[in-house]
Symmetry: C2
C-alpha cells in the first residue's frame, strides 16, 4: 500500500498546523488518482505527530511504500539535515518499508508561475 506523507515545519500557532492538516484533507480527496491510499502529515518540531511517529502510523495502516514531500520553500538546514535524520529513524524502525523523498515544494519549477499569478491578481 502506498502512502503520501507531507512534512511541515510546525508552529506554536495551532491555526498554522491546522492549515497543514486541512491541506492533507484536500489532498486525500485527489491523491487517490496517483495511487495513494493514505495521505497524512508530520511536523519537524512544535507540533504532533513527529516524523518517526507518522512513519509508524503509516506502517500500522499497512503502508509498504511511503512517499515523503517536504513542505518547505527552500533547502535550509531543516530540509538538508533535520528531515533526513528524522526519516532515518523511521527507516531503522521499518527496514522493509520503502521511503522515497520528493524534492521540497520550493524546488518545483511551477512555483514561479504560482507567485506571478498571485502578484498579477494583487495588481489591482
Amino acid at each position: 500500500m502506498k502512502a503520501l506523507l507531507i512534512i511541515a515545519h510546525g508552529s506554536r500557532r495551532e491555526a498554522s498546523n491546522d492549515e497543514v492538516r486541512r491541506l492533507v484533507i484536500d489532498l486525500k480527496a485527489r491523491a487517490g488518482d496517483d495511487g495513494f491510499e493514505s495521505v497524512s502529515c508530520a511536523f519537524l518540531e512544535l507540533a504532533e505527530p513527529s516524523i518517526p511517529d507518522a512513519v509508524d502510523a503509516c506502517v500500522s495502516d499497512g503502508a509498504t511504500e511511503i512517499t515523503v514531500l517536504p513542505y518547505f520553500l527552500s533547502a535550509g538546514r531543516h530540509v538538508v539535515e533535520d528531515i533526513p535524520a528524522e526519516l532515518d529513524i523511521g527507516r531503522r524502525r521499518h527496514p522493509d518499508v520503502t521511503l522515497r523523498v520528493l524534492p521540497y515544494v520550493g524546488a518545483e519549477s511551477g512555483m514561479r508561475d504560482l507567485i506571478l499569478e498571485m502578484v498579477g491578481q494583487g495588481r489591482a
Copy 2:
C-alpha cells in the same frame, strides 16, 4: 514606481538564501508584465537585507508603491506577527510610500495543484 518585495525566512545555510535571490532574478525577467520595475528580497532573520533595510532600498530606487509577498507556506507567527511588525518599521520611515501585503504563498489555491503535480511526477 512599483516595486515587488519577496520576504523569506532566511537560513544559516547561505545556499538556501541564494535560492531566494535566484528566485528574484527569475521573477525580475517576468514581473515587468505586471508593471513592476524592480523585484528584490528581504529576510526575516539570519540573512541580509532585513525587511526595513529592503524597504529603504526600494524607496531609494524610486519606489512609490511596494507590493510585499511573504514567501511562507503557512500562517505561523512569522507571517501573522513578525513580518507585519517589520513592515511597520518601513511604513513609519516612509509614510508617503504605499506598502501592500499580498497573502503568503501557501494561501494560494494553486498550491494544491503544484503538490499534486510533484506527487504525480514522483510516482515512478
